[in-house]
Structures are given as C-alpha cells and as structure tokens.
Point group: C2
Chain length 247, copies 2
DNA sequence: GTATGATTAAAACGATCGTTTGAATTGGGC
DNA sequence: GCCCAATTCAAACGATCGTTTTAATCATAC
C-alpha cells in the first residue's frame, strides 16, 4: 500500500504536469475557437505535448472538454455555496439583504472573470456561451449540480423578498445571469459598437450591481401593466402584426 | 435592357429558390451546431441541393454564414429604427416613456424570437451567441450597423432619463441585451435546472419588461454604494482575497 | 543490474472537411 | 431549330480531422 501510494503519487505528479498543461491550453482554445474549431493538434502543439497525449489522459476530445468544464464549475459552485453558508450563519435564520445574496452568487463569477492570468476570465466567457447552447453533456450538468446551487439562492432570495413568487425569482435570477454574462463576454462587442465608452473595469462591479438590484426588486409584471400599457408597434411593413411586449 | 432585365428576373427567381433554401437550412444548422460544426454536406443534403451549390451561389462557407446573418439583422435594424421614428414623431420632440423605448428596441427581437415557424427564433439564438464571441466579420458588423441603432436608442433614453449619464445608459442597454438573450436562448438550460418552473411563453414578455425597467431605472452606483456596503467575502480557501462586488 | 508499469513518441489509419473542376442540363431570346 | 448564359451535377482534389497502433522512453521496485 505504502509503496503503491508513493508510486502513484509520483506518477500522478508527473501526469498532472501534462494533464494540467493540456487543460489550461484547451480552456483558452475552446473559448476562442469553440469545440469544433479547436483541433487536437492545436491543443497538443500549443501545450508542447505529443498528439496522442490527449487521448491517453482523457480518452477523447469530448471528455477533455468535459474535464475543462468540470474543473472550473466545481470551483464556482463551491465558492457560491460557501458564501451563502457564511452569510446564513451570520444572519442566524433571519433574511439576508438582497445585495449580499447577489454578491454571493455573482461575486465568485466576477472574481473568476477578473482573473485574466490563470484562465478564469477565459473560462467564464466559455461558460456564459455554453449556457445558451446546451449540449447533451451540459444539460446533464445543469440538472445535477447547477440546480442545487440555484435553488439555494432562490430560497434565500425568497426569504429576503417577501411576496415575490419563487418562479419570478428564478426568472429574474436567469435574467441576471444573462446580464452578467454579457457584462463579462460582451464587452468587446460593446466597445466595437461604441468605442468611446467608459469601460473602467473597477466600475463594472458597481454598475452591474446597481442594475441587477434594480431588476431584482422591480415591481411585478401584473402591477406594472396597470401603469404602462406599453404596447409598441414593432411590426412589419403594414403594421398589422403588432407586438405587445407587455401584454 | 428590357430583355436582359426579364431574363435576369427569371433566373433570379430560379436561384432564389435554391439560395433561400440554403439560407433557411443554414440558419438552423449554424444555430444548432455552430459554424465549424456545420458541414457543407449537411447543409446541401438537408436543403436538397447539390454540394457545389453553396460555393456557386455564395462563394465560400464563411460568406454563406455572413449572408445568413445579414438577412436577419437588416430586418431587425429596420424594425427598430422604424419603431423609434414612429414614437418620436408622435412625441413631437418630447421625451418618450422608457417602457416604450424598450418596447421599440427589444420588441422586434422578441417578435423575431417568437417566430418559430420561419426560423426567427433560431436566428435570435444565433445572434445572442455570436454577440459574445465576435469574429472579425461580426466585429465589423457591430461597428457599422449596430452602433447607429444603439446610439439612437441611447439618445432616446438619455432624454427620457434626465440626469443619467450616457455611458451608464449604454452599459445598462448592454446588460439588458444580455438578459434578453438569456430569456430567448437560455430557457432550455433554465428548465433543465428547474424543471417545475412556470415557463408560460405569454408571461415572458411582461416578466422581462418588468425586470428590464427595474434595472434601467435603478439608482446609480454612486448613490447605491452609500446605502449598501455589500462587500461579500467570496474568496478562496482562506478568505484572504475577498471580492468587493460593490466597491 | 532486470522487470514492470506508466508515459511519451512517431507514424499511420480511415473519415470527413471545404473547395474546385469540367461536363451535363436547363430555359429564355433570336 | 440554334445559341448562350445560368445553373446543376457527379467526381475528385489536397488538407485536416480524431483516433489508434506500435515502439521507445522513463521512473521505480526488486
């Protein structure tokens, strides 16, 4: 046992070098060129390992993508659950402030996105994109791991915002995730459209938080409809097929 | 001239059949499998045309993707500009209601996304994704066409929301686009995480509008910071590298 | 030293990729 | 009828894809 253990640890240390080098490079390439746009030769070439190394260590290209994904999302989930647990312990059963709940949920994501040195930013762009094009593997992943974390935060928000239905909270959590995703990934496109825009990275957090809190605490749609009919004609040529965004 | 014109029109009618068939099929396949994940043989096979037809009519695969993109985004831009022009004419120089401005901007997008019969929904998913992974072609597109529409709506919002800086409006427009993108594309992932969620499509518009308006009209970050310190510890193991979402 | 198991290396596999070629087919103008 | 341009078609091009195979190399246990 002891011998095997020593040997194992040694070999594991060896492989971790190659394995992690492959993972790091893959993370960047998958983000930049997509799954199909990234070839094994691009990966192994840039990682400085043999072509067969990926198949040896991960089995298949798809399994490699899965490994890239798993490594980061586990880290993200752990940070989110831990942040919520700390806050709930402090509150001793009482409700939390919505702003702090959002901090706990989106803080780890933004922190990871702010890490441009170790691929965190790269991965968050990959995650935000993958969320809108769920493959079979990602679907299963969402159901297994993501659901738990989302429901915990939805519960916390439900306590913090009395009177707001859970379904509404989940939808708004979903909308907020979209806003955060664009805040992280879409900056390039935004700067392309408006080059003169102030994109001070230190202001992004407050800007985003202000927006998210406003959206989260917005009056419900039912009461809103009474205030604003908001029936805009956004139709085709003749204006017949009007679209009612608020109806 | 007349003869040539007649002949041209006839042949154009002929090619339009193949061309549009290719465009329609490509739209679906590019959305579902991405650019690299879609092969010319998948496209031509499903469209019922010869393999060489794409190269003949569009020149190259990338040009085909560009054509797919252009067809829809032109339609979107025209609808948005038109909706704004109508509202501004009615208002006779006065400010517009923010809810109506959002209707004008996001109404056409949601209307297109609601069109599941003719590929509109498909394309909106493609657009939302492409926005976060801008290729060289999309970058140029953003700068040329998207910028104009965005700035028009930003100006309208600037008039409607006195005291809010233009930069802030642009950022919030950006955040809102993320929320809308997730509302359109991320439903599958959301349902995967929370299967019991109420996803009545007729409620999506009001839900989204309520959220967007809340985020748009939220107090600015500067004043918000005074109310909520909102410094969450979302750090790693030791809690040393705390993240300040609001600082 | 030798044996053993894990890792790396070089080479090749068949399959599929986007694109091109050149001939066949089409359809309207004379 | 023929002509001509547009389009379609079948076939092939070289390149690249993910994966497998087989041998070489390495580190460790005995």
């Amino acid at each position: 046992m002891g011998l095997v253990d020593t040997q194992m640890r040694q070999t594991e240390t060896d492989t971790r070098d190659t394995r992690e080098r492959i993972l790091d490079v893959s993370e960047v390439l998958f983000t930049e060129h997509g799954f199909d746009g990234t070839s094994m030769r691009m990966i192994t070439g840039q990682a400085g390992v043999n072509l067969a190394a990926v198949n040896y260590h991960f089995g298949t290209k798809e399994a490699l993508f899965q490994a890239v994904f798993q490594r980061r999302i586990d880290e993200l989930n752990v940070a989110r659950v831990k942040a919520l647990a700390v806050m709930e312990a402090e509150a001793q059963g009482g409700p939390l402030k919505p702003s702090r709940i959002l901090d706990g949920f989106f803080g780890p994501a933004l922190a990871m996105a702010a890490d441009t040195k170790h691929g965190g930013h790269t991965f968050m762009r990959l995650l935000g994109r993958t969320y809108t094009e769920p493959t079979q593997f990602v679907r299963r992943f969402m159901a297994e791991e993501y659901a738990d974390v989302m429901n915990r935060y939805a519960d916390a928000l439900y306590k913090a915002l009395p009177g707001v239905p859970v379904a509404e909270i989940l939808w708004r959590l979903h909308f907020m995730m979209g806003a955060v995703s664009y805040a992280i990934s879409g900056i390039d496109a935004l700067k392309q459209a408006v080059p003169e825009l102030d994109d001070d990275p230190t202001k992004l957090g407050p800007r985003l938080m202000a927006f998210l809190l406003g959206g989260l605490r917005a009056p419900l749609a039912e009461s809103l409809r009474l205030q604003t009919p908001a029936i805009a004609n956004v139709a085709g040529e003749d204006g017949s097929n009007a679209v009612h965004l608020n109806a």
